[in-house]
Subunit: 130 residues, 2 copies
DNA sequence: ATGAATCTAGTAATGATTCCTATTATTTCA
DNA sequence: TGAAATAATAGGAATCATTACTAGATTCAT
């Protein structure tokens, strides 16, 4: 099925790409409503699903009961902060080395791929701890 | 809070340890009911939670909407089969090497730990594909 | 054995997500 | 351009995994 160009869809993807918080569908709904007050939550869910299928956004199946979404489709890792629960991106400088490590792993185990969630302290909570 | 020794709890943990299927709470409920026909689903949920807190079973937060449980608390990986959805254990012979790889990763990223889900074909589906 | 602590079955409530439907918007191409 | 065809929407209902509640039963520590 071909995706139409609707206002709702355009604004959903636009707002998601402006965020670095990996919002849940309902969090994004609140934000999108500032631009489109009559949009429905179902529309947000449906579009996030379709956009994820089309590879335009990432659907994150991390721990926790709600799914989260990411407008950044470039390869990177996610860390859940053990203090506040926020999801933080890990744009490691050592990315290529880590990537090599994990590809080795996939190779050795003869599998297709992996899903990795890191656990630790986000920058904010680390700062507060000191 | 100290855990009492109830029939229900004993049989739940016993049955879980006999399984290698990483059952959901409701799947385990069906099995436990063969021994305790009047047990309630809530009891299964509550006990799995308590046993996980006590480190006696593992609560797996993998992708998919239902949580799964594992009576094997030794360190190992899980793979979700892309064909049938089953969760299979990865008791890699190369475990120690993999473990080293991942500990390096944690070290480099300065995080506390990780949660890894592998994706691939389980033994059964691989056999059927041939 | 007994009082305190813990647990149970059964049921209700919750909350994230999906489904449904009548209506509206977008696309296609004659 | 302007129908007809396709896809999308708002709003609300339904689903389903999980958690919460409660009165009565079991287990524990002494």
């Amino acid at each position: 099925m071909k995706l139409s160009n609707t206002n709702q869809r355009r604004i959903i993807i636009e707002e998601l790409r402006n965020l670095y918080t990996h919002p849940t569908a309902d969090e994004l709904y609140v934000i999108v409503r500032e631009k489109l007050p009559q949009i429905s939550l179902g529309t947000v869910y449906r579009n996030l699903e379709l956009l994820a299928d089309a590879g335009k956004v990432l659907k994150l199946e991390l721990s926790g009961k709600q799914k989260r979404f990411d407008g950044n489709v470039n390869k990177h890792f996610h860390m859940r902060c053990r203090a506040c629960g926020r999801i933080e991106d890990m744009h490691a400088d050592k990315m290529s080395e880590i990537d090599r490590n994990l590809n080795d792993l996939v190779d050795k185990l003869k599998v297709d791929g992996y899903r990795l969630e890191l656990n630790g302290l986000c920058n904010k909570c680390r700062a507060e701890e000191e």
